[in-house]
């Protein structure tokens, strides 16, 4: 019996090594090769640049604070949020008092900053995402921020509102996912708009 077990274990080790080469080396490297040849932009992390330097990834949200920027959702990734080395959620439950206090503070702060009624602050502005890196906000939250951003940047409000409109992405094929606005892409477009001047 003991010898039998040992013999099975030895066979197991040999099979493990061979299958490891197949599934743990050949397979990922083959996928990597095809990815780098055909889909390099996505495979390398969908980087976005501004004036020749990488400023981030369009898939990874960033922290934007202050009146001049469209804000992202609250984030639980790292103590200051949006840290890709500490992705994750708050994991606070539906009856959790800490989370309830956070939600109330966020509602009051967003209402005051954007000059909207507290009841009209949308849910995504009050909650942290599962990844802590959510690059999107709802179209409603982006629209409610546009007057404040336009004022802070000295841009006509309708230009900023039009920019938000250009960045709204509906459901994929009309039914997959939820409508959204990519905050980094929107803020990048905002910067470029500012550089060109407010226009007519």
């Amino acid at each position: 019996m003991g010898l039998q077990v040992l013999r099975q274990a030895a066979a197991g080790l040999r099979v493990l090594v061979v299958l490891s080469l197949l599934t743990g080396a050949l397979y990922p490297v083959a996928v990597w090769g095809i990815a780098q040849l055909a889909f390099e932009h996505g495979a390398d992390g969908s980087r976005v640049g501004d004036r020749g330097r990488t400023v981030g990834s369009s898939l990874i949200g960033q922290d934007f604070s202050g009146p001049r920027w469209f804000h992202s959702r609250p984030s639980a990734a790292g103590p200051r949020g949006y840290d890709p080395l500490a992705s994750g959620a708050s994991d606070l439950g539906p009856e959790n008092g800490t989370l309830l206090r956070q939600v109330r503070q966020r509602r009051a702060a967003a209402a005051a900053e954007d000059g909207v009624a507290p009841g009209r602050v949308p849910p995504d502005a009050l909650t942290a995402s599962g990844s802590g890196l959510d690059p999107h906000v709802s179209p409603g939250y982006a629209r409610r921020q546009s007057a404040r951003v336009a004022r802070a940047r000295g841009l006509p409000e309708r230009r900023v509102a039009a920019l938000v409109g250009d960045h709204v992405r509906g459901r994929l094929l009309g039914f997959l996912g939820a409508p959204r606005v990519n905050v980094l892409e929107l803020n990048l477009a905002l910067e470029r708009l500012g550089r060109r001047g407010p226009g007519p």
Partner: protein
């Protein structure tokens, strides 16, 4: 289009896609395991590893090979994790501590993929790719092998032979998992998932802060993580992370992948025993349970009962904006109804009822459609239990697929049914009995108990998802959760193989006047009832004190 209409269409597309591939994939897997010639690459593997592919094993030999292979896999992965600091591509990460390495090695070998660590800050690319992802393939192939061995127990007669473990392992890996994973990985990377070998790179953000952009061979691992119902995320946020799951298309595609093999296996079963209507009956029972759970989770999340969801106006804490409530609920149901445990949203922040149903999904034993292989053998054990109970009611010897269910078979079924609740309830009991493990519970009162029960339900059922608020990076949790995974995986496997051995020896009895038909709606209804009642008997007190108490508060 409204949220509900869009959500229903997404579910419809998913079901349609699964239906389209059901027959061809089920038939293909039946051919893979049905005998036939070895491929050239397989013959090479057998020659190099000096395994005799034509030896037919008894159930004991099959079990011994499986356990030997799994033991070596745990040791190998343990060593890999301990030594990763001295290996290339470690990205500066050092080796895992002993208790953490034990937990993680067991976790990936048992197809659980419970993770006490955060991938992006704990592991380098090499150990993820050549250590963890390898077990994503092989643990899934082991599950398939056990399911096929049980099916052979029904299909064969007058023999004590169940097939060859090494052949089943190699064929499942080479002919099923590897080609499907390769295709799926290409689809994922084409849709925006990352696949590179970069180290974290610090960039200046648009607003002038700093951010580290991470990378890794993510798409290749993501594909097999879903396909093999493993669930271990490359990153801590798992499939909520945009690099693993970049958009609503990949989100639905990943749900499709994790349901793909388990939902096609009843067809494989039907083909191998020569009666496809028996396969349809199992699939129908799986579909009823799955649909019921999906309705419950989605309704609970959409209604967003509870203090915080009501204050917010939606159950959106822990969910991505682009997936929304409906597609997140779909992912959550599918991942807890299979043994996957990948998450695209934080289950801990679901409503009390929604999170409670996710917990119940795992406690049902993950049979609808369940893990890769483990779902089919779990459902077959439930079917045997069902004919046994039906036989008790009418007072005659029960039989299933022409095989008599006598004392010997019933004993193995009973042991199988008891193994998982044993792991879950003893583990939970120990954790709440001591102040040390209680101290790392994040949320207060009933939700805290749910976190602990969820952890042992997840590990005992080899799921791996978490109510992640529980701080499990302690020696106590790493050890006891690791033991729960071992008990929850290998005890049932041994009992299933013993059952298969007992069944294969029988000569089938002809269908008679009093034979209970096992392909009609009556049997499907009874099977669903048995699955629900067994879970309710074992877990009602725990569920009542956790999610039910929280929901009623």
């Amino acid at each position: 289009m409204g949220e509900a209409g869009a959500g229903l269409l997404a579910i419809g597309l998913l079901v349609l896609a699964l239906a389209v591939v059901h027959l061809p994939l089920g038939a293909y897997m039946a051919r893979v395991y049905g005998g036939g010639r070895h491929l050239a690459v397989e013959r090479l593997v057998y020659r190099v590893t000096r395994v005799d592919p034509d030896a037919d094993q008894r159930w004991t030999g099959y079990a011994l090979s499986l356990l030997g292979f799994s033991a070596v896999s745990v040791l190998f992965l343990y060593g890999f994790l301990r030594l990763q600091g001295d290996l290339p591509l470690s990205l500066g990460s050092s080796g895992m501590p002993a208790d953490g390495a034990f937990n993680t090695a067991v976790s990936f070998v048992t197809n659980t993929n419970w993770q006490w660590y955060a991938g992006e800050s704990t592991l380098g690319h090499l150990v993820q790719m050549a250590g963890l992802a390898v077990q994503n393939f092989l643990s899934a192939a082991v599950g398939l092998a056990v399911a096929v061995a049980l099916v052979r127990g029904f299909a064969r007669s007058d023999t004590d032979r169940l097939g060859n473990f090494w052949v089943d392992l190699v064929r499942g890996t080479v002919r099923i998992l590897l080609p499907l994973a390769f295709l799926a990985a290409i689809v994922l990377v084409a849709a925006g998932a990352v696949q590179n070998f970069m180290s974290p790179e610090q960039v200046r953000t648009l607003a002038g802060g700093t951010q580290s952009l991470v990378g890794g061979p993510v798409a290749s691992q993501e594909a097999i993580k879903e396909l093999g119902t493993n669930g271990g995320g490359f990153f801590n946020a798992n499939s909520a992370h945009p690099f693993e799951n970049p958009n609503p298309f990949t989100n639905l595609f990943e749900v499709f992948l994790l349901l793909l093999i388990p939902s096609a296996l009843p067809r494989t079963f039907g083909r191998l025993i020569g009666s496809t209507r028996q396969g349809w009956a199992l699939l129908a029972a799986m579909a009823v349970l799955w649909a019921g759970s999906l309705v419950a989770v989605t309704a609970a999340e959409a209604a967003h009962q509870g203090t915080v969801p009501q204050a917010v106006g939606a159950s959106l804490e822990g969910k991505e904006q682009q997936f929304g409530v409906w597609n997140s609920a779909l992912f959550a149901t599918a991942t807890t109804m299979t043994s996957t445990g990948a998450v695209d949203s934080s289950h801990d922040s679901y409503t009390a009822l929604g999170g409670g149903v996710l917990l119940l999904n795992m406690l049902l034993g993950e049979v609808a459609p369940g893990g890769t292989g483990s779902g089919l053998y779990g459902m077959l054990v439930a079917a045997v239990l069902t004919v046994f109970l039906a036989g008790l009611m009418v007072g005659r010897t029960p039989e299933y697929l022409g095989k008599k269910i006598r004392q010997r078979e019933t004993t193995f079924v009973a042991l199988y049914v008891l193994a998982m609740p044993f792991a879950v309830l003893v583990g939970t009991g120990l954790a709440v009995a001591f102040p040390g493990p209680r101290a790392t519970v994040l949320n207060p009162r009933p939700h805290g108990l749910s976190e602990v029960l969820y952890a042992y339900a997840s590990t005992g059922n080899n799921n791996g998802s978490a109510f992640a608020g529980l701080g499990t990076d302690t020696v106590f949790y790493n050890t006891t959760l690791g033991l729960a995974m071992l008990v929850g995986r290998f005890l049932p496997i041994v009992f299933v193989l013993a059952l298969a051995g007992a069944l294969a020896r029988q000569r089938p009895v002809p269908v008679g006047e009093g034979t209970l038909p096992t392909h009609g709606p009556l049997f499907v209804g009874m099977l669903v009832g048995v699955v629900l009642v067994v879970a309710a008997l074992a877990f009602f007190p725990g569920l009542a004190l956790g999610p039910v108490a929280e929901g009623l508060a």
